[in-house]
Symmetry: none
Subunit: 167 residues, 2 copies
DNA sequence: AAACAAATTGACTTACTTTGACCATCTTGA
DNA sequence: TCAAGATGGTCAAAGTAAGTCAATTTGTTT
């Protein structure tokens, strides 16, 4: 078994056994534990804990630094993947983004307010900066992607957002 | 937990428990209490109690010297207005945007979820497109501004932080 | 075996925190 | 008045920890 696979499993077991959808790790400790280069940990993260795999990671450098891994629970990973990879893709127009956000709200995958904010963030006004339309569409896609991942990461809301309508 | 975080929390707890928007501290006493260099206190102030964080500090040297921390009090509309017209401006970094959004949530001008969404929309990941940092900061400012306007426009929420009845 | 893909490593970079030496300002008591 | 003492401020260096990238190695496929 590859070292990367072992590390992947180790992390997943940790999350499993702590019943947590979120876990904080110390990159250097992990690397030492597995007798590997610290950057190996980054490799594992970037090949096995991506949004496509249903995870989002973040980190903090410096003293007391950490790597945080959050498993996306709010939505089925496949559906999110569809949205992210096929619907949004690498580039999307303001109009398409708006339609998508409205639909998500209508299906109660996100709240009406989330939708407003997401539409505002991807509106022509928001991106009326000095850049050709093509570049703007690329940025829009990234912004939208970023917000969708954000929504997917947060825990489901109590009563309102019942789980039949997922992102 | 980092020492700086501990000190930050300690100060906030103090203000909380005294129900005061203002507090005077003795730098050396604090440093001694936490067994750290006095300048550590300055570090905490300059990274966690800036105007962006919603605080203003002042101090007095010499005998009977002190450090005074005052929490800025503004209504939600005032705060939004200030950010839109004075603070955000034409260009803003991801870090600054994050601090401002967190601050808005802390003041309950927006919900914690709105803040997460706004941070996601202005994060480095969201704008990791082919463009120099300066251009990205300009775009970030427009995106943030667009979202702030969106929030400012929607009707004031009742007692809504609690969105049990979101639908 | 050649070609391609995946994994591993390490040098270099960036980010955040802690510490300490030296500086500036204010109060107080001869 | 003014020197001594008491504070706080600044800044740069050291310490800690994660990120990037490209070269190399290992494994798989044809």
């Amino acid at each position: 078994m590859r070292l990367s696979d072992t590390i992947e499993q180790f992390i997943k077991d940790l999350m499993q056994q702590e019943q947590q959808a979120e876990i904080d790790l110390k990159r250097n400790e992990l690397a030492e534990y597995f007798h590997c280069a610290p950057s190996q940990i980054n490799y594992v993260l970037s090949t096995r804990f991506t949004p496509d795999h249903g995870y989002v990671t973040s980190s903090q450098r410096g003293g007391g630094g950490y790597i945080r891994i959050v498993r996306i629970v709010r939505s089925a990973p496949e559906q999110l993947n569809y949205l992210l990879n096929e619907r949004v893709g690498d580039s999307i127009s303001a109009g398409e983004a708006q339609i998508l956000c409205r639909q998500l709200a209508e299906r109660k995958a996100i709240t009406a307010k989330d939708a407003q904010l997401m539409i505002a963030a991807t509106s022509p006004a928001a991106l009326s900066a000095p850049a050709p339309e093509a570049v703007k569409n690329v940025m829009r896609a990234r912004i939208l992607r970023s917000m969708l991942l954000c929504v997917a990461q947060r825990p489901a809301e109590a009563s309102s957002e019942v789980n039949h309508h997922e992102v």
